[in-house]
């Protein structure tokens, strides 16, 4: 899986410019991820690739179109030093896995990376380095375990916390 590296403060207008988000069609949204900021992304991104970013990834608007577009483009996970909070919630809610790690400097654009979902370890195959990530808070793990907020609320929801 190829790593797509981004810097700090990547905002939702960069991920999905508002002019392109007048739709709820996931397939269409998948085609517009980074359409103006990094046009080659949409042309060459492959199923399972990951995004590696700096601080405050997904800042700006509350538009859920941003994580939806990233997921629909084929991205299997985003690893960042930190995430903007609405983007973080949105991603958990729609089932786009996010990992927080201080060690993203050890991954360069184009590196081959593999995520061990069970251990939460990230293997940089190009550099032969393993990076660890912070586990999600227990409360959020319950939502993830159900498969997202909709499924969480459809089952026990807030009743049996």
């Amino acid at each position: 899986m190829r790593a797509w590296k981004f810097g700090d403060d990547i905002n939702t207008d960069v991920i999905t410019p508002g002019r392109y988000t007048v739709t709820t069609d996931k397939k269409q949204l998948g085609k517009i991820a980074f359409i103006e900021y990094r046009p080659e992304f949409g042309k060459t991104v492959a199923e399972g690739d990951i995004i590696v970013a700096g601080n405050n990834f997904g800042c700006g608007s509350s538009r859920e179109h941003s994580p939806v577009a990233i997921k629909a483009a084929g991205i299997s996970a985003v690893i960042a030093k930190s995430f903007a909070r609405i983007f973080f919630r949105n991603s958990i809610n729609i089932g786009l896995p996010l990992y927080v790690s201080e060690d993203i400097d050890q991954i360069e654009d184009g590196d081959e990376v593999e995520i061990n979902v069970r251990t939460g370890e990230i293997l940089n195959k190009t550099k032969n380095i393993t990076i660890t990530v912070k586990p999600l808070p227990e409360f959020m793990q319950k939502i993830v375990a159900k498969g997202g907020l909709v499924e969480f609320l459809r089952s026990d929801g807030y009743d049996n916390l």
Binding site: N56, R63, E64, P137
Partner: protein, 412 residues
């Protein structure tokens, strides 16, 4: 345990005696809001959970991001949301203002917990409520249950003292703060604004301060309710909470506002803040006065005072979008709109206007827009090769007159 206003509101809404930052709580929501851009995805999530909203009088839906519909696709999304409004018999459906301004004018009371599928929902915290932005699926969940989970945030205290120089406004103050704190400096935190400056300024100016908490990553902006808030709210009294004197803050900032000059945020990010003197003389193509940041009556009044009896420079188009119909009517009654149109402005219907680049005056390649909005991200208002510079209504109006960026203090 001494607590902040934010902790007290979240404790009350989640039926706890007290809460501590880091706790996860499930709170009762006073109002859920979503707009034409975020409602369609919220409906999709809602429909998978249940078939009836938790309270038809507490679900607010506003068309403001692209109203009237500029494209067939936008009209299709409007239809989807309208059908939902009719089907659920939702009483709070509006097409005549920016969602945050309408919430402030008609709904939010002190002590409320308000969530909106728009990041600038931090604005409404200026009334002494806990208000924050969420995405569509979260709002779908709130429309279904009337509840939302939160991680109780740590609080930052911004103690603003003194009074601003003539020609310097709340927008300049908050731009300076965002520039100093940085785009991620308040990540996940509640931003509490206090001090004699905050007490002295209008509710409109307080809304401008809280509006931009998100631009430093903040979860919410909040200001304690006082007599000025209650006067503004009319009959809405709510439940007034105040921070304890010895409440714990993650950090405290002392800001003497008298030292602040008129500020601008330069492209391509909001924390790229500089005094206006750094870009004085830069040519501009569009000036936009409006939005949830600065589309209120006092903002239109400031601009009118500068522009009345004069003409906007030939190289500039001035767009004015009052933040709500009430503001529009008040500005009309006072002759502000007439004066602005006489000066060369186009006055548009109360919406988000061109701030999000979907309708009402997009930017072409190579153009520069000086705007009173809160974001200047690349490509936001049209061409990704256009520049957006953020400023106060006074800087915007004076610059419209000059055809280039100027210091408004010379025009007041």
């Amino acid at each position: 345990m001494p607590s902040t206003i934010t902790e007290k509101i979240l404790a009350s809404a989640s039926h706890h005696k007290e809460v501590t930052p880091g706790d996860f709580v499930v709170a009762d929501v006073s109002y859920s809001m979503s707009h034409d851009s975020t409602t369609p995805l919220a409906i999709e999530a809602f429909n998978k959970i249940t078939d009836k909203v938790f309270d038809k009088d507490r679900v607010i839906i506003v068309f403001d991001h692209f109203f009237p519909a500029p494209t067939v696709a936008a009209a299709g999304l409007h239809k989807k949301s309208r059908d939902f409004v009719m089907e659920q018999n939702i009483s709070g459906f509006h097409t005549n203002g920016v969602c945050h301004q309408l919430l402030v004018e008609k709904y939010v009371s002190p002590g409320d917990v308000v969530v909106g599928a728009d990041s600038h929902t931090c604005t409404e915290g200026a009334l002494g409520a806990f208000t924050t932005g969420l995405g569509s699926t979260d709002i779908g969940g709130v429309m279904a249950t009337g509840k939302c989970w939160f991680k109780v945030p740590e609080s930052l205290k911004f103690n603003l003292t003194g009074s601003t120089q003539k020609g310097v406004y709340a927008k300049d103050v908050i731009l300076r703060i965002v520039g100093d704190v940085g785009a991620a400096g308040a990540l996940y935190k509640a931003c509490e604004f206090t001090g004699d400056y905050v007490k002295d300024v209008s509710v409109a100016s307080r809304l401008t301060l809280c509006n931009m908490a998100i631009e430093m990553g903040g979860k919410s902006g909040i200001i304690e309710t006082d007599q000025k808030t209650l006067d503004f709210l009319g009959g809405r009294t709510g439940k007034i909470f105040k921070s304890d004197k010895d409440a714990a803050y993650d950090d405290e900032f002392e800001i003497e506002v008298e030292d602040i000059e008129p500020q601008v945020a330069l492209p391509p990010v909001v924390d790229n803040v500089a005094p206006v003197s750094e870009v004085e003389g830069k040519s501009i193509d569009q000036v936009f006065l409006g939005t949830c940041t600065n589309g209120r009556l006092e903002d239109i009044e400031i601009a009118t005072k500068i522009l009345k009896g004069k003409k906007v420079a030939r190289n500039v188009r001035l767009l004015v979008t009052p933040a709500s119909q009430d503001i529009y009517f008040a500005a009309l009654e006072r002759g502000y709109l007439q004066a602005l149109v006489d000066a060369g402005a186009a006055v548009c219907n109360p919406t988000c206007g061109p701030c999000v680049g979907r309708h009402g005056g997009v930017l072409g390649e190579g153009e520069v827009c000086l705007s009173t909005q809160n974001r200047n991200f690349t490509g936001r208002m049209g061409s990704p090769k256009a520049d957006i510079i953020l400023a106060s209504p006074a800087t915007a109006a004076a610059s419209a007159l000059a055809g280039k960026i100027v210091d408004p203090r010379d025009y007041i």
